[in-house]
Symmetry: D2
Subunit: 432 residues, 4 copies
Amino acid sequence: MSGSRNHRDSAAPSDRLTARSALASRFERIRTQTETLAQRLSAEDCALQSMPDASPVKWHLAHTTWFFETFVLLPQARDYTAFDPHFRVLFNSYYHGVGDKHPRPERGLLSRPDLATVYNYRAHVDRAMRTLLTRELEWEIVALILLGLHHEQQHQELILTDVKHLFSRNPLRPAYASRWPLLPVKPAALTWHRYEPGLTSIGHRGEGFGFDNEEPAHQAFIAPFALASRPVTHGEFAAFIADGGYRRPELWLSLGFDSVQAQPWQAPLYWEERDGRWWTFTLRGMAEIDPHAPVCHVSYFEADAYARWACARLPTEFEWEAAAREVTPEGNFVDSGVLHPLPSAGFANGSGPQQLYGDVWEWTSSSYAPYPGFRAAAGAVGEYNGKFMCNQYVLRGGSCATPASHIRATYRNFFPPEARWQFSGIRLARDV
Amino acid sequence: MSGSRNHRDSAAPSDRLTARSALASRFERIRTQTETLAQRLSAEDCALQSMPDASPVKWHLAHTTWFFETFVLLPQARDYTAFDPHFRVLFNSYYHGVGDKHPRPERGLLSRPDLATVYNYRAHVDRAMRTLLTRELEWEIVALILLGLHHEQQHQELILTDVKHLFSRNPLRPAYASRWPLLPVKPAALTWHRYEPGLTSIGHRGEGFGFDNEEPAHQAFIAPFALASRPVTHGEFAAFIADGGYRRPELWLSLGFDSVQAQPWQAPLYWEERDGRWWTFTLRGMAEIDPHAPVCHVSYFEADAYARWACARLPTEFEWEAAAREVTPEGNFVDSGVLHPLPSAGFANGSGPQQLYGDVWEWTSSSYAPYPGFRAAAGAVGEYNGKFMCNQYVLRGGSCATPASHIRATYRNFFPPEARWQFSGIRLARDV
Amino acid sequence: MSGSRNHRDSAAPSDRLTARSALASRFERIRTQTETLAQRLSAEDCALQSMPDASPVKWHLAHTTWFFETFVLLPQARDYTAFDPHFRVLFNSYYHGVGDKHPRPERGLLSRPDLATVYNYRAHVDRAMRTLLTRELEWEIVALILLGLHHEQQHQELILTDVKHLFSRNPLRPAYASRWPLLPVKPAALTWHRYEPGLTSIGHRGEGFGFDNEEPAHQAFIAPFALASRPVTHGEFAAFIADGGYRRPELWLSLGFDSVQAQPWQAPLYWEERDGRWWTFTLRGMAEIDPHAPVCHVSYFEADAYARWACARLPTEFEWEAAAREVTPEGNFVDSGVLHPLPSAGFANGSGPQQLYGDVWEWTSSSYAPYPGFRAAAGAVGEYNGKFMCNQYVLRGGSCATPASHIRATYRNFFPPEARWQFSGIRLARDV
Amino acid sequence: MSGSRNHRDSAAPSDRLTARSALASRFERIRTQTETLAQRLSAEDCALQSMPDASPVKWHLAHTTWFFETFVLLPQARDYTAFDPHFRVLFNSYYHGVGDKHPRPERGLLSRPDLATVYNYRAHVDRAMRTLLTRELEWEIVALILLGLHHEQQHQELILTDVKHLFSRNPLRPAYASRWPLLPVKPAALTWHRYEPGLTSIGHRGEGFGFDNEEPAHQAFIAPFALASRPVTHGEFAAFIADGGYRRPELWLSLGFDSVQAQPWQAPLYWEERDGRWWTFTLRGMAEIDPHAPVCHVSYFEADAYARWACARLPTEFEWEAAAREVTPEGNFVDSGVLHPLPSAGFANGSGPQQLYGDVWEWTSSSYAPYPGFRAAAGAVGEYNGKFMCNQYVLRGGSCATPASHIRATYRNFFPPEARWQFSGIRLARDV
């Protein structure tokens, strides 16, 4: 949780009223958006768990609600009654500070509470939240509500990636949404943008929301570097495969090549070879790969190996942030409704690198670590970010499954280097 | 599949008509019974899989249907169209002769086809079967239909044991059925019935249905032995626990004590200690153990260890069969609706051992092996039984989850020695 | 341990003296033979453990000594001092009754005590045993010493099979012994010997030594059957492989085919294909397979699948015993020094089936189970056999690594169905 | 491999002669030191492998020799004949560029070649190296020889840590060396040294040897911080344990607490509780912990949790290096012969932090990553460092098992966060 040190409210009463109503309407918008995403799914679709990393949609619906009940309503709304006391344990994700939790790999064993009950749970909590939001709230509570909303947006993205994974394990390969009429695009050549060396400020400075892991803002020295004008495409990655990329240990980190052999991996997640052509599973069903669209569902290991093959490297998260803050954060987010990365021509933001935002999360070479002076928030919400700062790598920029209002230049996403079920892709960098 | 060599139909036309209509009505009855069992369950309840050994209820509903489609309709009903060609693979359990199969541990990843579709599948196949059943059928086809019906009854039992396991993994401990008003009983003391030595005939002789593994009937020599008058009770087993039974390696088979330590086991499956008293999870929710009811959900290892502790042993399957064929096959089956073993007083069959049938499957000391001269049926249905004759132990007599019309003295059930999620219990024997 | 009920000594003093000196010289012979087998091995060879099932040779040398120290000397020789009190735990194999034991998979972590110390341990115990053997001993003690000697012979065989496994894991494929000049043989065609049905006596009757698992002798009814005239050969098994044997699920037990796919298996243990020809690793190094020699290092699963492919089956252990007791127990044992199975012509015992004894242990279809009335010996030695009677299959007849004086018609060896590192082969049977 | 860009030899002939003889004598010294370390061990001690992370001493003896044979002699010494062509695969650690390698977890399966043969291998290679070292060598070859010597020093440390682990798995707890007479010390209080913020140069600048992972030197900005005056002691760590440190999830990284529960961990590696006091296994046998000596054998997870408990943090590797380059690299290295960390009073280097060098490797909070502009060496030696830059953390300063001549301020050691068998300890830092 963040920003508590910079946001004290000293505004006039009318401003406060406006702020309150803005928060209330943001609450409605985001809560509704979650349910909209789940609307196309049956109770059965929402109940299953396809791997320990993924959760049932029903669990996402409940856990985001649990967050408001546990961290906002129970401590702050005096007359609030918990919807069901069992849910405190059942829908706790990983907060030791809240007490026991139901084991993550067993989230798919819960046919009860059923989906209808979980929607009732949402309604129950939403009602209480609406009442609370009419009150004048201290900044700490507003900050918790904002955190809860950003938290819910993270789970909106997970609803899509987790149901995609579930459907991919079904031999019927069901589609989450119907086919999209794609227009032909003129491919964009990959060029390089050069950046000068220097001391620069990294991290979130406290205007608007930021997670605690984006703070404190601090100085870092960046050597000169160049950044690719667009992400690596499906077609380029297919060339890497055709060149024996998955069989050449010299291209890989040692752990990466161990993964290649143990799994084994021969292509990004969801790719299938059919009569010598590559197809991939999308939220709109099986489709032949679009050679000009950014490659996605690659692990850090694959991103790193591709970069080595291409005589380049991944950017550090500081390089990425320095480049991205000069660019408007627009792109192909979940709001476009496409639900798949689009070729470069789709969105253009001026003369800088394209598609830094949206389409695919971009793996950086940076291990997920605390910024100098980092301090986790007090209480259980302090477990939000800090305790995961080990053996994970930072991704930047959001994807086609991220809400547009959720992203910013300083935003740090993170996953273990072997994770592939997110819309994770590759942006190249190089020394100059 | 069985009996093909002994059941040739040489009856008069009117007899054949009667037989046909008996088969048709048996078909209706058993197919309906399956759906009745599933009626209390939601689509979500039916979709989940709690362990690789258990299957989702939806899968049981579909697989039993697949059996008729694959082995009867597609080969025999010329104008029959498969409901969905994907189902050939999706709902194949283990028949290599039918081709590929969906991996068993992934049966719980199928939110599609949804439950409604599976019921449509059942209706589609039932319609075609009804038509077929009006035709004059060769004995081989009748035998396959009978096999399919007995097969479906086996899955009726699995629906109950699998959903019980699923619900037991849910911290809410949901009940499949509501509480049962239990009457107090006068406990029956354990006494011994003595049997004389001699050559005896073992196995199914071909009057009525029998599985191939019950054949051929053959001679076996049985030494004199005694059999306990009733199964071991929850109370007796609690005494074994209190006497350190799970901590004394000298009572256990070596593999059994390995299991005790690896799991670790401290009581039968579903038992929970609350304030120094034993409770157990039942299909009617959590309940304190009834000391006089037969213990269930014990592995072969626990049955064997208990017997050693009680200075007795498990009966061989031949001893069991010799005793059981003198007893009417009546007892507390699924038809009673109790869904849990009952104390001995509940059902009495004359002066012989009580409760040989129903209540709990009784572990025998016999490894599951072919009878002398055993020959599996030709074709894929030959995979029904024979290929599992390794590292499993025979259980006899049926349980409170078995349909009454499904059981007989020669019936051989079998599970690996570590299996506990069936209603498996203990009948003691000893040398005399 | 066996025979205690039948062997009471009521002989004259001079007879007793003879018996005592016979026991003493048997003790010397067997203890020396163990060390002779280990003589060709370095301290390093003796220290390593290649898998949890196998033990270091040094451990075998110590454990067989531990047996005499623990079960004979410490209880019986009043002035005996344990060589090293740590050894009680360190070299306990599986006797819970003796207390703690060093974990089996960690036997290869003991560089200390070194090999020289273990030889000192042997000498220390041998000295004390020699003294004891000059005393007049009660039958119970004689029986324990006999048990210890038969136990040591079992470990003599394991020294060979375990070091063979260890050497097979070394890319240098070292040889335990130098090459053997093999003579060309005329292959023996496989014919069938027929046996009549009837009640017969099975098990050890108490003349000479027998393990407890061979007792009590009891009646069994055997249906008519035929037994193959010799074991299946390497050449015949190669034909099974060439016919796709390892790829055809219909030939296998379900667990067997699971093993084939999981390992995966494509040939017996130690076979390697080189330029389209089969080679195998032997105690004399790599050699091309001899098509006429009995195949060895097959699991029960492979034996069973081969039999099905050959339209036959494995014999039951009762069938095997009924046939074998009519044959003189001679054959290619460890005493021949060949250390590998020989073609049928090598040894001939009259007109019955050849090679029932020696060459290869023959898998039977019988699960390892107690004979009717079986009772384990009192005390820790009661753990010798009984507690392993689960999920193992009986092998009969001894192998080229078994001491000739160790075998008899009633002898029951047993291994899990997936075990392959013993000299285990195939004898076919069939119904008639 | 490093320094190739900065070390070109433009010296006069006599200087070159001196340099050559210095290299030759360094070669002799380091090669001899390895054998001295192994001298106290038997052939059996040298053959065993106690876990996949550790290697048999014999393997270390051979692999360090393989390095010179493979990378120096075979390419450079025209008349050199490989000692045994099998060794190319057998003693390859992880160089894909050299071809196949024997699997790491199976290094303990090689009783052959025996220890004597490995010493012959060493002698064979040493002879050829001595001849080569009399020649005038190009810088690239000198650099490879230097790399080989530093590589061998790394394995000297591993010989000690690996044999310590092996002996710890033996219930006899054998000692590598005899007990050391320890003098009483006056404990040193922990104080803090403060460092000012600023841009500083990090990494090896090319005077003397450095590994490629220490290069290139580059600028980094360091915020103000304070560093503890000495490492955390055994006594301080015991207080952390007594305070429930291993049971309080809020002190741990999420992956760290997973390890605590899965292993489970209750103290550092090698600690054993005896009658309420902590003992630890040392290279000199079991000893009660010395409360004033630096704690060792802790994982990154334990170091991080301790720091959080102590309201401090681990230093970054840049902070550590900035502090360490102001201190003379002296300390308790393997050369002292103590083989265990010593209390702070043992060695003092002026007024700065004590014991930065020697005693224990100090975990830093820095993920092991390439320095900006890092480029791996060409050819197989390029696999030396770069491919391991993932999911490992940097340790600095050397330990009581590190050769003194092997360490420097820029030296980067690295291990996965769960590794404990190195002499790894804790230095605290904090923000100011």
